[in-house]
């Protein structure tokens, strides 16, 4: 697959049923990849060959999309996408939100937030939008107090009150789950918690619920957002099958956003 192929795709968009088109979608980990796998047969019926490109970090899927190497991606929430657009003069646009990854606070030794002792170490992800999200989650439940946002994100510098003197240790997103043994508490997405057998419903001390902007969203570019295969993809990803799949396999972990 390369750029020219993508262009051909665009040329053929008038007659998608007659010729098979290839739709390349970048993604990272389950359940994102599982949802894409699930809808693949349905798209095939429509003559759309869904090709999933699994990448290993959370910048490349956007870089690849902006460079037209893929036609869409599915791994991020809208604020993260906006940050990318701002910094890279890219024109990525949301197509449709799919699910809320119910961010939560987990602790191995403690049953509730109140038990967490003075000066406890809380591990959070080390990228700026997830730092923002982790702090926002804690602020939402009154664990800390944050001042008015100065930039697009909250940072540790925005903490005005931290009554129990928690220490925030920043580690790589992919490392969060490993920190469950090490830190007193970990703030992470269900995608990383589930391999540990943890679910937001039964194990999280705090969760962010669905009252937020952080739904994992199918993203495309401004120039192909209206392209029929993309729209089709959006449709099948918000179908009842996907809802059923999420509810059966990811109860409270990935809450459908459609």
């Amino acid at each position: 697959g390369n750029g020219t192929e993508t262009k051909e795709n665009e040329d053929t968009k008038a007659t998608p049923e007659k010729e098979e088109v290839t739709l390349k979608v970048a993604s990272l980990i389950p359940p994102m990849t599982e949802i894409l796998e699930l809808v693949k047969p349905k798209l095939a019926e429509e003559g759309i060959n869904l090709e999933m490109v699994v990448l290993g970090d959370n910048v490349q899927p956007n870089t690849a999309l902006a460079a037209k190497e893929v036609d869409a991606n599915f791994f991020q929430h809208v604020p993260y996408m906006e940050e990318f657009n701002r910094n890279n003069e890219a024109e990525l646009v949301p197509i449709v939100p799919i699910y809320f990854a119910n961010y939560g606070v987990y602790a191995k030794e403690f049953e509730s937030m109140d038990e967490l002792p003075e000066g406890a170490v809380i591990a959070i992800a080390n990228d700026i939008s997830n730092i923002d999200r982790s702090l926002a989650l804690l602020a939402q439940h009154g664990v800390i107090t944050l001042q008015e946002k100065t930039g697009p994100y909250y940072t540790k510098a925005d903490i005005t009150e931290n009554p129990k003197n928690y220490k925030f240790e920043e580690v790589d997103l992919l490392m969060l789950a490993r920190m469950y043994d090490d830190a007193d508490a970990v703030v992470m997405t269900p995608a990383y918690a589930s391999p540990l057998g943890l679910t937001p419903k039964s194990d999280a001390l705090l969760t962010e619920g669905i009252e937020n902007d952080f739904a994992i969203t199918l993203i495309a570019r401004k120039d192909n957002a209206d392209w029929e295969p993309i729209q089709k993809l959006g449709e099948v990803m918000t179908s009842p099958e996907v809802r059923k799949f999420l509810e059966e396999n990811y109860d409270e972990t990935a809450i459908p956003a459609f």
Binding site: V54, L55, G56, T63, L174
Partner: protein
């Protein structure tokens, strides 16, 4: 065969082939470009037959710059270049570009070092016989340093395998990435361990071959 291996058999084969492709390309780059670069680094040094402070400094700097980059950022920096020559910046083929660049920088240092261990007398014999630069290199330097060059390449290849495991970032795939994705991110520990065993076997074979070849061709 364990069930989990049967289940993922096709993907494992794919990963193995991807690793071979990426590492193979790096080896080719190391030999075809790294070897000449390392040789130039040696020959342009003070007191050597092509003594040239300019060329030495420039090559030295370029190699150092490549080696200074955090590998992840090198991959990112090279994206436009990769796209230029491969047509895309993601996938196994694209991953070979940054890997090859690293391979060149890595091996050229080891080549330089091996050549520095060639006894001066051999160089003198070559020069006194009126050997051209090309002849000095191929008929004397490489002959006398060959066991070190092979061992250095062996060490380098094993480093390339290690570097290839990071190429998942741009969708390069390979055994290492497979192990990271399934084992590390999805906690399929058994699968991860099998993948690591494959890596160990691969590395062990390469090291054994390298050690043996280098011993057989060392007549000093």
């Amino acid at each position: 065969m364990p069930a989990v291996l049967v289940q993922y058999e096709a993907e494992i084969w794919k990963a193995i082939i991807e690793t071979f492709a990426m590492v193979g390309a790096s080896i080719a780059a190391a030999v075809l470009i790294g070897l000449p670069v390392g040789t130039l680094l040696f020959l342009c040094r003070k007191g050597k037959i092509l003594e040239n402070q300019m060329v030495f400094s420039v090559l030295n700097l370029v190699v150092n710059i490549i080696r200074s980059f955090p590998f992840l950022l090198l991959v990112v920096f090279l994206i436009p270049f990769t796209r230029l020559i491969i047509g895309t910046a993601i996938g196994t083929a694209a991953a070979t570009v940054p890997l090859s660049i690293i391979a060149i920088a890595h091996y050229s240092r080891l080549v330089e070092q091996s050549l520095l261990d060639v006894p001066k007398g051999v160089m003198e014999a070559a020069i006194s016989m009126g050997a051209s630069v090309k002849e000095v290199i191929f008929k004397f330097l490489y002959v006398e340093a060959r066991s070190g060059l092979v061992l250095g390449l062996t060490t380098s290849i094993i480093s390339f395998i290690s570097y290839s495991t990071i190429m998942g970032v741009v969708g390069g795939g390979g055994i290492g990435d497979f192990a990271i994705r399934y084992g590390y991110q999805q906690f399929k520990t058994d699968l991860m361990i099998y993948m690591i065993i494959i890596m160990v076997i691969l590395v062990q074979i390469i090291q054994f071959t390298g050690t043996t070849v280098s011993r057989l061709i060392d007549k000093r």
